[in-house]
């Protein structure tokens, strides 16, 4: 998995509306890439729903979240509508998982990204990264807050 301090690998992915977003477009703000296995995962409370609840808190700290999975833009659109998400979802679809692989968070056994968080600073350098020990373990939103306040952790 990618190490803090290294430059974040560039990417160009389509979001749920088919618009291309590249890392270059996101320069100048702190970005958290939320890698997750698949849209429509069957847990009672979804990771992205909780992050969604906190979107305003993240925004007030100048942080923008982007979900990334190997699903297509159309699946992302349906998932976003189902969960009432405003967090953009990026389709790491073709070549499948290329961005997850570039960030070292691709799971070959499952054929999906692992559950991982990568915080990228306004300068395009990785500030912090976390990968769940298993796909069943959802990284707590508290980890993102802690990463934003290293002194308070």
């Amino acid at each position: 998995m990618i190490e803090p301090g290294s430059p974040a690998p560039d990417f160009k992915l389509r979001d749920q509306d088919g618009l291309e977003i590249s890392l270059d477009d996101l320069r100048g703000q702190t970005v958290v890439l939320v890698f997750y296995p698949l849209d429509f995962s069957p847990v009672c409370t979804d990771q992205l729903s909780i992050y969604q609840e906190l979107a305003a808190d993240f925004e007030s700290r100048g942080v923008k979240l982007y979900g990334v999975s190997v699903d297509s833009a159309f699946a992302h659109k349906a998932f976003q509508e189902k969960l009432n998400l405003t967090i953009p979802l990026l389709a790491d679809f073709e070549p499948k998982g290329e961005v997850a692989k570039a960030y070292g968070v691709y799971n070959d056994d499952y054929g999906t990204a692992q559950r991982a968080l990568v915080m990228i600073g306004p300068d395009g350098v990785v500030q912090w990264a976390y990968c769940s020990p298993s796909p069943l373990e959802i990284p707590g939103a508290n980890l993102i807050f802690d990463a934003l306040e290293p002194s308070a952790a």
Partner: protein, 150 residues
């Protein structure tokens, strides 16, 4: 807080979550002290927040746990008219209930519960905290047995 003695169990849950209802029934049989904190996730459960506020509003009239039991006891009837029926059934003042459940104080309280859960690492409901240890999901038999010993 509910229960006189035994280990302290803090539950983060939501009244629209079926796993929370199951957990609640399991905990009800144990000799423990219970604290319930709201963890509503509206995008998944659109009624979760209004229901948390309803329980808190009943609490303003001293009947939090009665409303709590009523909501978990029947998750098929959670719309506003059903809430009014429950309020009447508990003998509460409906007008006061309606005002309280829309009050900013209670809204802040529910938000505070949610954020305290987030900061403690809660990412799914139910999540129990036993001796400071997070136990996500419906409690396993081992945990129930441990708690049952008191």
């Amino acid at each position: 807080m509910r229960g006189d003695s035994g280990p302290l169990v803090i539950e983060y849950g939501d009244y629209e979550c079926p796993y929370c209802a199951r957990t609640d029934r399991l905990l009800a049989e144990l000799p423990i002290v219970r604290v319930f904190r709201h963890f509503p996730v509206p995008s998944k459960h659109p009624r979760a927040r209004p229901l948390a506020l309803a329980a808190e509003a009943a609490g303003r009239q001293g009947r939090f746990w009665e409303m709590h039991d009523s909501l978990f006891g029947d998750q098929g009837h959670l719309d506003d008219p059903h809430l009014w029926e429950r309020v009447r059934g508990l003998g509460l003042d409906l007008e006061r209930f309606e005002a309280d459940r829309r009050s900013p104080e209670l809204d802040e309280r529910v938000t505070r519960d949610f954020h305290s859960g987030v900061r403690a690492g809660v990412m799914s409901t139910p999540t129990l905290f036993v001796d400071g240890e997070a136990c996500p999901g419906v409690p396993k038999p081992e945990l129930l047995e441990r708690l049952g010993r008191g």
